[in-house]
Symmetry: C2
Subunit: 198 residues, 2 copies
Amino acid sequence: MTDSPPGRPRQMRTDARKNRERLLNVARAAFAEHGSHASLNKIAQGAGVGSGTLYRHFPTLQSLLVAIITDDVEALCSKGRALLTHPSPAEALHDWLRDVAVHATTMRGLVASQMIAEPDPREGAALAACHEAIRTTGSSLLARVNPSGAATADTRITDLLTLVNAAAWASEQAPYDKELLNRLLVLATSSLPSPPNQ
Amino acid sequence: MTDSPPGRPRQMRTDARKNRERLLNVARAAFAEHGSHASLNKIAQGAGVGSGTLYRHFPTLQSLLVAIITDDVEALCSKGRALLTHPSPAEALHDWLRDVAVHATTMRGLVASQMIAEPDPREGAALAACHEAIRTTGSSLLARVNPSGAATADTRITDLLTLVNAAAWASEQAPYDKELLNRLLVLATSSLPSPPNQ
DNA sequence: TGTACATCAGTGAACGCGCGTTCACTGATGTAC
DNA sequence: TGTACATCAGTGAACGCGCGTTCACTGATGTAC
């Protein structure tokens, strides 16, 4: 057993951190343009980085994707928590679901599909944690709309989020129809109380 | 101008017709397994046919897909027309939407995506005709549920079909959850009158 | 503050792979008589 | 029914391409003193 020596791990090199950031940005754009057909070599090239560097940071296309989604989900959940004090629970929920949909709308179905599919255990707990966080946040918002049904909120919110993500995916398939996402969200959430001003 | 001579075109050779049929069947399976990453060479090989033969029949992956979908849509519409005499209009509509969803559930999102996206004009009128046929059939079924709203039935059915296809896509992403499609369909159609026996 | 150095991030040519696509050729078969 | 033949479907080796991935090497930088 040759354990690594104890003590703090060495801090991440500044160039490494910058490259990681740049890779994530370029990957975001590449996924937005080509979805799951995006080329890793081109992402590396676009970030001004050797392909080996990309592999050092993200051994897998999936891991790149999960890193991007993790950032987004964090923002989404923090916005959701803020909405918990919104005066209109119904409006808060609708607003947040719209944000979720818009988020899922950014990468040719890749994001939507990750949010729906069972997390790949090889990807560690990162993606599963995203799911958990989204569900918890949504559950709180939903419970405020209909306090009596709190017990069922957890399963309801999962299906609701799935359908919202599916609607987002559909609207990506039809980019020429700018209003489609709005109309689909109305349909998808028609079983919820409407927000007051609509 | 060297026009081809007049008269009937030569009938399709029997081996050609068989090969075409075999290619469609193998392609169906390949798309079901690999979606848009299916390999044309492997489809040709699986059908026991040279790759050139595949290209003679279907110059494009897309054209292969459209041929498959055309067959399915025909069946779907004929079933829809039969349902127009069903004693319960609401049940007829729900049944048919379920069939549409199940159909969209067979090829890793490829079918669902084709049913939603704007038809590629290079693909001729075939796919556009599918959309038209589905919409017409659905529109009739919807009009029977709510005769007063016939004028708006056409736009409503388009969005409804889109959401149903989206739900089908989502349920493909989560194959481990066998009941997901059912639950999503309930959510997606919650703005319609419920069928009597549910 | 300055310096020596071990660590590890970065490099990018090279590899093997499977893909879509072509095309000169072979051979099956529908048609006309 | 039988036959000659023009048509066109079928073939599959070959091509170029871009992909993901590797790895021996270089060099930047965080750390310890």
